[in-house]
Amino acid sequence: MAKSNKPIIWGTFAAGGEIVSLVMPVIILLTLLAATGHVPTVFSYETMHAFAAGWFGKLVLFVILFLSLWSQAHRLRITCFDFGLRADTLVAIVMYVLAAAGSIATVVFLARI
């Protein structure tokens, strides 16, 4: 039996799991504050735009979005199987195409800023 190529995706899943676990709760808290009317100062257009315009801000946003997309896509694939959806190859293709599309969109949006 041949060695698996799953490490490609698992690598992003593990790295993504680490990053998402560390930063996602606080990011959700920030947008929750915005959602409840207490908009943090960082969410003014000028501040956010200036952050995303710099190379460091671009890098941070790309790393978080890219890893979260691939990490959730991989976990959703497994979740589908665990709930009894046995068309694993189809589910995998849909999830990974979504993650790839999201990654490309991230690069495009960041390049426009």
Binding site: A14, G17, E18, V20, S21, L22, V23, M24, P25, V26, I27, I28, L29, L30, T31, L32, L33, A34, A35, T36, G37, V39, P40, T41, V42, F43, Y45, M48, H49, A52, L61, I64, L65, S68, L69, S71, Q72, A73, R75, L76, I78, T79, D82, F83, G84, R86, G102, A105, T106, F109, L110, R112, I113
Partner: protein, 134 residues
């Protein structure tokens, strides 16, 4: 040899769509996996925010406004709860994947797990400061 034993092993099928009801620990595992639905949708929301940011100030302001819809507020609370559950389960099992050996002794799990919690708290406070919440 005496008379032959007849072998007719009985196979019990695992129900593919309901197996996780059998044990509480399976339910906890499924809860952890389900976090990916909420964090996945939230990641799409962030991507949407980035799209609006790149589209100019009006679009960005209307995006921030749209977050205040009641459905968005409810979703945020759910996403926060699931994200926290995901983080805690991740930190708690991190030592299994990353065993540390100092000299002879393997570090207890609490070192790697505790390290994760400390970094998480410090990073979260830093980001809140940076975002101007305090």
């Amino acid at each position: 040899m005496g008379e032959k034993m007849s072998r007719r092993p009985y196979v019990r099928e695992v129900p593919p769509t309901s197996w996780y009801f059998r044990m509480p620990r399976y339910m906890r595992y499924m809860a952890r996996e389900v976090t990916s639905i909420f964090i996945g949708i939230y990641t799409a929301l962030l991507l949407c925010g980035l799209a609006n940011l790149s589209a100019g100030p009006e679009k960005w302001d209307s995006f921030i406004k749209s977050l205040q819809a009641p459905s968005s507020v409810i979703f945020h609370w759910l996403a926060l709860a699931f994200a926290l559950y995901n983080s805690f389960t991740w930190f708690n099992v991190a030592p299994k994947a990353l065993p540390l050996q100092f000299g002879e002794e393997l570090a207890p799990d609490s070192v790697v797990a505790g390290g994760h919690y400390v970094i998480w708290v410090l990073l979260s406070i830093f980001i809140l400061f940076w975002a101007g919440v305090f």
